[in-house]
Symmetry: C2
Subunit: 165 residues, 2 copies
């Protein structure tokens, strides 16, 4: 029997633990999309004047850990808008991907639930709440990965299933 | 001064009202991507053997309102895996898009926060929680819309800015 000393816990739509697992699940799928690209085409293949998938992936790497680190620690982050040529191999980029996986988990632990509705300037310039910024990071990855799927299909390569994370 | 009769409200990472606004913001962007397609290419243009954007949009329409209606009301929904040819104009599809916008708002109002962590079988077959199913609906739209961006770029058409909702 409930007593007044034990208030009922409020229902939660989505917890921070569930959101970071959701994000990492998407990142795990993106990792397999990177793996599916042949080494050369990862850096060179393009449709309609768009960036090769490697450059999109470098953008994602430039957003995830630096953006979350800035949110969690206050350390300013910058976005490189120049999209420079990548002087790395696919396997080195996959290593950066895995390092980012660890970094996200580390910074996520530093983020109390009270912070998610706080207004911030992500990368010193994009105003929003912490949660809207993080959702943007995730959505931007899904968006570019979807473009990577078209590149793979156009190269005659079957991409990994979208629903497998 | 706080008293024990006024318990402090628990911090919320993301509210249901914010999530549906986020979803509708994405749907507003997808609407502008549909508008950006020339009538003919919307139904015929394809890369790498993928579906024309119109068929992807019909999939999104087949998921959003029927899927959320099933969640909110218990009325069973089915997914048409056949992807039949579309016997509609772009303007008729935009009308369905706007009708779905209203339907989502309607069904969302019927969904109390206590339901989001409930386990369900979406479309009678995909097991997950209500929240994971809804996130899947949104993510699937971002994924296919990203593919629509490649189609547009390949057609020499500038897509709407990703960050404008």
């Amino acid at each position: 029997m409930k007593t007044t000393e034990q208030p009922q816990k409020e229902a939660v739509m989505l917890s921070p633990e569930q959101l970071v697992a959701h994000w990492q699940g998407h990142r795990n799928l993106t990792r397999r999309v990177i793996e599916a690209f042949p080494e050369k085409e990862f850096f060179t293949f393009s449709i309609g004047g768009m960036r090769p998938f490697s450059i999109m992936v470098m953008e994602l790497l430039g957003i995830a850990a630096p953006g979350l680190c800035e949110i969690a620690t206050g350390k300013p982050a910058t976005i490189d808008e120049e999209h420079p040529a990548v002087d790395l191999t696919k396997s080195q980029i996959l290593e950066l991907w895995d390092k980012t996986t660890e970094d996200i988990n580390l910074y996520w632990e530093m983020l109390p639930i009270e912070r998610f509705q706080e207004t911030i300037l992500a990368f010193g310039q994009y105003e929003g709440t912490v949660i809207s910024s993080i959702l943007y990071f995730v959505d931007n990855e899904i968006h570019h990965r979807g473009q990577g799927y078209v590149y793979l299909r156009s190269l005659g390569i079957e991409p990994p299933a979208f629903w497998e994370r």
